[in-house]
């Protein structure tokens, strides 16, 4: 009879996992994201500050020309290991609109730590107009907003191997996945670029944004497309989930507490029931 619990449990877990993992079979992306090693993967994985700093540099020098990052404030950069002075100086490179002043006029001033990253375009329409009709999405949450179908059996296995890096794997694969040769059966409209890793079609309106050697890193990291894609993807994971380190650290303490508590309760339960046949 105790089997019932085990069986029901197994059935329920299978149901949960199946149902959430098996999204409708869509045709895109043509290629599944390639899994990378991330410093923040796994129950003890943490962000690598040096990597996030390189990612910030790539965003600031490159992606920010088209993409907003409006949910991130300059003060948040303290997480990346910057001091208050460094953040102040970095923010001052940006101009933000403020006002109205005493005369009722809007004005521009240098950004402070309390400001969010200013957006490259005043509105969606302007962003579209500048990008051939396609809207470059705000990147703040993109690492959590893109999670291509894992398919069976991966989605069943994922909870057991604690795989939660779908988003950064996708961004990395997209940025490194542009292909010059287009397969016969694919037609790429004028002004779009073929990328078999893109989640919502065969081709996208973003030209390949990364080229070998286009950024320089103080720590001597080689500016290969792959390295840069990885660093910026890690940075975008941080912008989407800034409290991940804290979450996992607290999680560890909670799990240890619950498991010890469970063991003690189990022993007490045995003790209490020892005198009763059941």
């Amino acid at each position: 009879m105790k089997n019932l619990v085990v069986k029901l449990g197994a059935a329920a877990i299978a149901a949960t996992v199946m149902a959430t993992g098996a999204w409708a079979a869509s045709a895109y992306p043509k290629n599944k994201p390639r899994e990378q090693d991330w410093s923040f993967a796994g129950p003890f994985g943490m962000y690598d500050q040096a990597q996030l700093q390189r990612g910030l540099k790539i965003y600031a020098e490159n992606c920010s020309a088209c993409h907003a990052l409006s949910r991130v404030n300059f003060r948040n950069l303290a997480d990346l290991g910057y001091s208050d002075e460094q953040i102040k100086a970095f923010a001052a490179n940006y101009e933000v609109e403020d006002g109205p002043d005493d005369f009722g006029d809007m004005f521009f001033r240098p950004a402070t730590a309390a400001d969010a990253f200013p957006s490259p375009f005043p509105n969606k329409e302007a962003a579209r107009a500048a990008n051939g009709g396609a809207y470059p999405p705000d990147l703040s949450l993109i690492a959590k907003a893109r999670a291509p179908i894992r398919g069976f059996p991966a989605f069943v296995i994922d909870p057991f191997r604690n795989y939660a890096e779908n988003g950064p794997d996708y961004i990395y694969s997209l940025l490194t996945g542009y292909k010059d040769e287009v397969p016969e059966d694919v037609s790429v409209p004028e002004g779009l670029w073929y990328n078999p890793y893109f989640a919502s079609g065969t081709a996208l309106a973003m030209a390949p944004p990364l080229f070998e050697g286009m950024h320089e890193f103080d720590d001597g990291t080689e500016a290969t497309v792959s390295n840069m894609a990885k660093d910026v993807a890690a940075f975008l994971m941080w912008t989407a989930e800034p409290h991940m380190d804290e979450r996992k650290q607290l999680g560890f303490r909670v799990m240890v507490f619950l498991l010890i508590f469970a063991a003690l309760l189990y022993l007490s339960k045995k003790q209490v029931w020892a005198r009763v046949e059941h």
Partner: protein
């Protein structure tokens, strides 16, 4: 077992205790309900989900109230306010992930609890009202979770609300007015968000009220047990405290550990990535899929692709979907068996497990596009779902020959322990269990 039988074992010792007892015997009620309350001695872990469910209701209410302090029910600000909770509010991410994953585990527990009831025949007389109160809780939970899911105002929130409220338009005459009443307009928008927030705050407290009735009814009839035989003598039961308390606590902590694993290590595994994109009425997501706990019903909805006389396919689907939930209410009268527990009903036991597998399969179909072979499979699976309740339950009860029942719970327990724990570790004995007695 009547309520009176265990009434009066409470003896207040302190002066204050006696004073209160003479005026409003609340401590006595608590004592009789959660300390002295007799429970069958042979309950297994399938009986621990009731306690787990009440804790999850508390978790949802506590985290929900904290979220509501920072949440803004305004179509232009809702998404930002949830992100503000995730980023800037102290431990906001924890409250949000606990609430979000809490809903998933609440449903996991309620499904296990319902399956337990179906397996052990918990709905049979005299527990019909207890069962119906449970079904009402389940309905209220579904409404609460649906409206809660709309609050973060992501793409799935918006489009899920659009699709689900759209079902109502299938009903002739009253359909469109109902939909407009739900939405507060002609399409999902600010008024929808505001009324859903208000109702999402209200319904959990209604659930708490029905839970009190549910527990009251439970304490009048007493629990069932794996043998399905009613309690006959004192030796059949043990006091709730410490026996059930410690067992429930152990199961609860294990369940919480599983929940915590998802909250802290995979908080977004059970959700949809699309809900991290702010709602956009101009962009329809490629696949609109409800949360996993609604998927079997979603599959039933889409399985009806043909008109039946004046009933259009759309209306037929909506009727089938509502019927799939409502059929649970009449289960006490559909099951004709004299024997309560599946342990002594070999054919029912088989049918039960097929039903469980079929329910999981329906859930999977609900996540697939409604096209090609999936439609035929969903139709077959829907037929099996209703067949279990409307054909198997009434017919099996009449034709099935149950196994011999033990005379009492005590006898069943002692018979089993004589077989398994009798000190002679013979191989043949090791496989014997109460299932076979």
């Amino acid at each position: 077992m009547s309520k009176l039988e265990h009434h009066g074992t409470y003896t207040p010792t302190s002066g204050v205790g006696k004073w209160i007892d003479a005026r409003m015997p609340l401590p006595r009620l608590m004592y009789d309900s959660f300390v002295a309350y007799p429970v069958p001695r042979n309950l297994n872990y399938a009986y621990t989900f009731g306690g787990i469910l009440s804790i999850f209701l508390v978790i949802q209410i506590v985290t929900g109230i904290v979220l509501a302090m920072h949440y803004v029910p305004d179509a232009t600000k809702a998404f930002d306010s949830v992100e503000h909770i995730m980023r800037d509010v102290n431990s906001g991410w924890l409250m949000r992930y606990m609430h979000q994953n809490g809903a998933h585990f609440f449903f996991l527990a309620v499904y296990l609890h319902i399956f337990r009831g179906l397996y052990y025949g918990s709905y049979k007389a005299p527990r019909e009202l207890l069962w119906i109160l449970g079904c009402i809780i389940y309905l209220l939970m579904m409404a609460t979770a649906f409206m809660g899911y709309v609050l973060p105002w992501g793409q799935m929130s918006f489009w899920g609300a659009t699709v689900i409220t759209g079902f109502f338009t299938a009903f002739p005459v009253i359909g469109v007015p109902i939909q407009e009443l739900l939405l507060g307009g002609f399409a999902v928008g600010d008024p929808t968000l505001n009324r859903f927030f208000s109702l999402h705050y209200l319904l959990p407290f209604m659930i708490a009220g029905v839970v009190i009735l549910h527990v009251w009814a439970l304490h009048v009839t007493g629990q069932t047990n794996p043998t399905g035989i009613e309690v006959k003598s004192k030796t059949d039961t043990v006091p709730f405290t410490p026996y059930a308390t410690i067992k429930d606590a152990f199961a609860l902590i294990l369940f919480l550990a599983l929940y915590a694993y998802f909250v802290f290590y995979m908080p977004n595994f059970l959700g949809h990535a699309d809900n991290y994109i702010p709602a956009d009425p101009m962009v329809t997501p490629a696949h609109i899929v409800p949360e996993w706990y609604f998927l079997p019903f979603y599959a039933i909805l889409r399985a009806i692709t043909f008109d039946i006389g004046p009933i259009t396919a759309k209306l037929g689907g909506v009727i089938a979907m509502f019927s799939a939930v409502l059929v649970l209410f009449v289960v006490p009268w559909l099951d004709t068996s004299k024997v309560r527990s599946a342990v002594y009903r070999p054919w029912y036991k088989l049918a039960f497990w097929l039903f469980v597998i079929n329910s999981v399969f329906l859930g999977w179909l609900g996540s697939q596009p409604a096209e090609g072979v999936y439609v035929a499979l969903a139709q077959l699976s829907t037929a099996i779902y209703f067949g279990f309740f409307l054909i198997v339950m009434p017919v099996l009860g009449l034709v099935e020959k149950p196994r011999r029942l033990p005379n009492s719970i005590t006898e069943a327990v002692l018979e089993r322990s004589a077989k398994t724990g009798g000190g002679s570790p013979q191989l043949g004995d090791a496989t014997a269990s109460a299932d076979k007695s």
